[in-house]
Symmetry: C2
Subunit: 382 residues, 2 copies
Amino acid sequence: MNEAEALAAERTRLRLTCRHLAGHGPIHPAEPFEAIAAWLRENGSRDLGGGFVPGVQPDVYGTGALVEDFEAEIAALFDMPAARFMPSGCMAQPIALRIWSDRAGNPTTAFHPTSHLELHEEFGYRELHGLSAHLVGDANRPTTAGDVIELIGPGGAAHETGLASLLVELPAREIGGQLPSWEELVALSELCRDHGIRLHLDGARVWQAAPAYGRSLSEIAALFDSVYVSFYKDVGALAGAMLLGPREFVDEAAIWQRRQGGTLHSAMANIISARLNLAGCLERMPLLVERARQVAALFSCHERASVIPDPPHTSMFHLRLEGEEEQLLQARDRVARETGIWLFGTLKTVEGQAACQVEISMGKASLALENEALAEAIALLF
Amino acid sequence: MNEAEALAAERTRLRLTCRHLAGHGPIHPAEPFEAIAAWLRENGSRDLGGGFVPGVQPDVYGTGALVEDFEAEIAALFDMPAARFMPSGCMAQPIALRIWSDRAGNPTTAFHPTSHLELHEEFGYRELHGLSAHLVGDANRPTTAGDVIELIGPGGAAHETGLASLLVELPAREIGGQLPSWEELVALSELCRDHGIRLHLDGARVWQAAPAYGRSLSEIAALFDSVYVSFYKDVGALAGAMLLGPREFVDEAAIWQRRQGGTLHSAMANIISARLNLAGCLERMPLLVERARQVAALFSCHERASVIPDPPHTSMFHLRLEGEEEQLLQARDRVARETGIWLFGTLKTVEGQAACQVEISMGKASLALENEALAEAIALLF
């Protein structure tokens, strides 16, 4: 083993054995499958003394009670007419925009310059669905009604706006989990309705937005025509997403899902994992939003650290640290060795500056750390 | 419970408790996850007496040793330069044809009239990828070089053929698992190479073709430019597929996979399930091809039964039964109650005839049934 390999091995050891500041903490990869198997043993078919009792059966190509009951449950949670389980948000969101564009006979959509569709999806919306997108508003803050008016011009009627849809991410991940104010969001929704622009929610982390706004998920969803939610980020399930909207919209989405190769023989593992983890996520989320503010304050009292936004809007924020990347990673390793606390994983150098940035998102692990131990670990970093 | 519900419940009970003629037989849905968890406990990180030993880590968005080692293993098995794990064949195959079309600057492909792409994928190849397809040859037999010549005209050079690619399914599922003869397949491959037509293998069940031809998987793959294989059909894994071909082809396919929403946070369950089940499939397959001939003979000696093709080419065949659907299903139920053997699931009425058809594919369960008991059960059906 050379020096670089030894360092990588040491970092893996620290990452897997320390207590974590962010996320749900390291788990053994067998754990999710043990939980799924245990649930199936409890709910699957059984041969009791009195005879055979049929139980949960795997979903088959997106049908069956296992997936349909879960879709109904999520639709009810958001008070939307229908929902469809899909493998990923990368699949669900371009499909939503495609359907709204087809209805409008207009391939043009719009979203934030840091939208996942623009940064991380190899432009599937354009290359597969033939859509074109305006990047609307300032890259460093949430999209507002004013930004949209600037794009479409004042007083433009539906057919004049040139926009079939607008996608809004709540909270906006790439800018530290920022949310527009509730009033700004309502104004944006009203503007879209007035102008016949379909408003789609990128709700990958919408679970955070509910306690942050002090509103229910259905109050948030009521401002949108369609909604995407993810089950592996805050929820902590294996993988999987849901697309919600009107019944015919969701039926059409299921056809696109098939076309994109997303209607699997069985998605049982992801469905059960999502069901098993969702209730805990919903229960935990108000605590995590509170926890993000506490943790942010423990960092921002240090001169070489700052948080974006300050204070955090949701259960996540961006941490900015002055210093070179490798030097900061070495400091992180030292803290981990001395305190048993793993503060963050990879860092991203801020272009042209001697500073780095990292996303810090609260999860199960974040609740288990005592403030005093954490403050000490953070102080040791500098 | 009304009469229809009672009948459905009784049929579920029979299906889940009888020994099966076809497939791998009913298993408890928890079993695959127990196997995955056990494998991960054995291969995951451990804290031994001497200290922490890192083990298998989940794949992350299609990267990491867990998935990359498996891709290398399958590439080696087929002697192809590279391979990419994907969620499904519905995703993999249109991507393959799209890439070959992009290279040729020609959106036209061709496949059998009963191809999965034409019958079961909501025309993703056309609606998403903008390809157009010729349905080539007779719907009731495998595609031959003669069929292609008829389509492109004799002596057509690459740029004149109007075909960027040809997709061939081995064995062809919708026609009872028929294979062209080896000589016909070689002639088809040579014709495509001579005319610059990229030949793609729909190898959803190619595992059957190797022992049927008495050739290795790599000998078969050598006739093709790209190959798709599936892990949940004959292999019996949860879900998942692989696309194989030249390195740059596979790299490009990975970009399309991302665009289609198929690059998941983790596909660990499907990857491990495929790895755990593949060796058994390869070992079993010669026996299953032999078994299909035995089972087909047990049916075809009855006047009201026939098999397509007769004898079977591979480890599957189509069974045709004279009679009305509901009457045959009731006979199946009676056989199940009296013999404990479940002969088939759903039936499909042959249009305009008092006859039904069903696919019978050999799997683990098929090897466990004694010929005598099976012959008795089949006799009871009529």
